[in-house]
């Protein structure tokens, strides 16, 4: 997700090409071509410009609903309802992959969580992540906390620091707070022994009221992540 204001002007984008499961878009204002995955203008009058990344979540509707009861949901367009496919992932997974990276640890269609910190990229295989969550890892000197949500499908990545000091987190299934979506789910940090919710905010304990910094992360196929981040490392435990 990107902001679409460039040089003080809000651009309007439209689909202009498909590129290996990412796409190219053009803006109606200048006709410049932009790459969806990088937000960069690759051809045309605005070539070289870059859109700003907006922090977004890929979470379940149930999780979102519990966090933002006053929020709005995009309504389906009646004309295209038959095109929407809840089960599109298995269908797409069958498509042939044009780019392959034989010799790398993962298979092309393995799902990963991709994170970049100050230019250094790392991929976390989803299967591994789901089993080991919460994961505390270090990328380019920054401690990261990767968390699978109470619903087993939502995920978020945070900077694993409380008040500037590195922190370790564990899943605390014993206790919980009634305001959580699933009472009983909370993270516990070893530094202040506070309880934290899936939004990365402490709900009880000495750190109560504080929130961890979010890190943008992308759930992607390995081949795509590796294609755009050739120097990426892969998380191993």
């Amino acid at each position: 997700m990107w902001t679409r204001t460039v040089n003080g002007r809000a651009l309007h984008f439209y689909l202009a090409g498909i590129n290996n499961q990412n796409f190219l878009m053009r803006d109606t204002e200048t006709g410049t071509w932009w790459q969806q995955i990088t937000g960069k203008a690759i051809y045309g009058p605005l070539k070289g410009a870059a859109l700003n990344l907006v922090l977004s979540d890929e979470i379940t509707f149930g999780e979102w609903r519990s966090e933002f009861p006053g929020g709005q949901v995009l309504a389906p367009v009646p004309r295209y309802v038959k095109e929407y496919d809840d089960n599109w992932e298995p269908e797409v997974a069958k498509l042939p992959v044009v780019i392959n990276f034989p010799g790398t640890e993962l298979k092309s269609r393995d799902v990963v969580i991709g994170v970049t910190v100050a230019g250094a990229a790392r991929a976390y295989p989803w299967e591994t992540f789901a089993k080991q969550s919460p994961i505390v890892d270090r990328v380019n000197g920054t401690p990261l906390l990767l968390v699978l949500g109470p619903d087993g499908k939502s995920f978020r990545v945070f900077v694993s620091r409380i008040d500037g000091s590195d922190a370790e987190f564990f899943l605390n299934t014993a206790a919980g707070d009634a305001s959580d979506a699933k009472p009983g789910w909370a993270l516990l940090d070893t530094t202040t022994t506070s309880q934290w919710n899936f939004q990365g905010c402490a709900i009880s304990g000495p750190s109560s009221g504080k929130c961890l910094d979010r890190v943008p992360a992308l759930k992607d196929y390995w081949f795509d992540w590796r294609n755009y981040h050739p120097g990426t490392t892969v998380y191993k435990h």
């Binding site: 997700m1 933002f68 929407y84």
Partner: protein, 118 residues
């Protein structure tokens, strides 16, 4: 990219040129030569037309005017995945099953123009 950018103009020029040659040559051609010429005209004219159309938007129609429902007023299953963004007090969810089809949506969240892409 250079070809894509300039295709609409140059295919049009090529199609016009072919049509002009066709008219000039027509009286002097035998019947089988006329048939051949018409057949070869077809892909040239086709290219000129297709270079001006966005067939990606035929496959994946854009959302003309996005409507939003309050979270209580829609029929999504709790397990369905959404892309979620929040700016100030404006929290929006874009179901991935819809965005995987439309691919791009120009929206304004909390007063900030944003491009939702999937």
């Amino acid at each position: 990219m250079f070809l894509r950018q300039h295709a609409p103009l140059w295919t049009l020029i090529a199609a016009c040129a072919c049509l002009v040659f066709t008219f000039i040559l027509w009286p002097n051609l035998r019947r089988w030569q006329k048939a051949l010429l018409v057949l070869s005209l077809a892909p040239v004219v086709f290219s000129a037309v297709m270079a001006r159309l966005n067939y990606f938007e035929w496959m994946f129609h854009p959302i003309d005017s996005a409507q939003f429902l309050p979270q209580a007023g829609n029929k999504l299953d709790a397990k369905e995945m959404v892309m979620a963004v929040r700016f100030d007090a404006d929290a929006r969810a874009y179901p991935i099953s819809q965005m995987a089809y439309h691919h791009v949506l120009n929206d304004v969240v909390g007063g900030v123009p944003m491009a939702v892409t999937y």
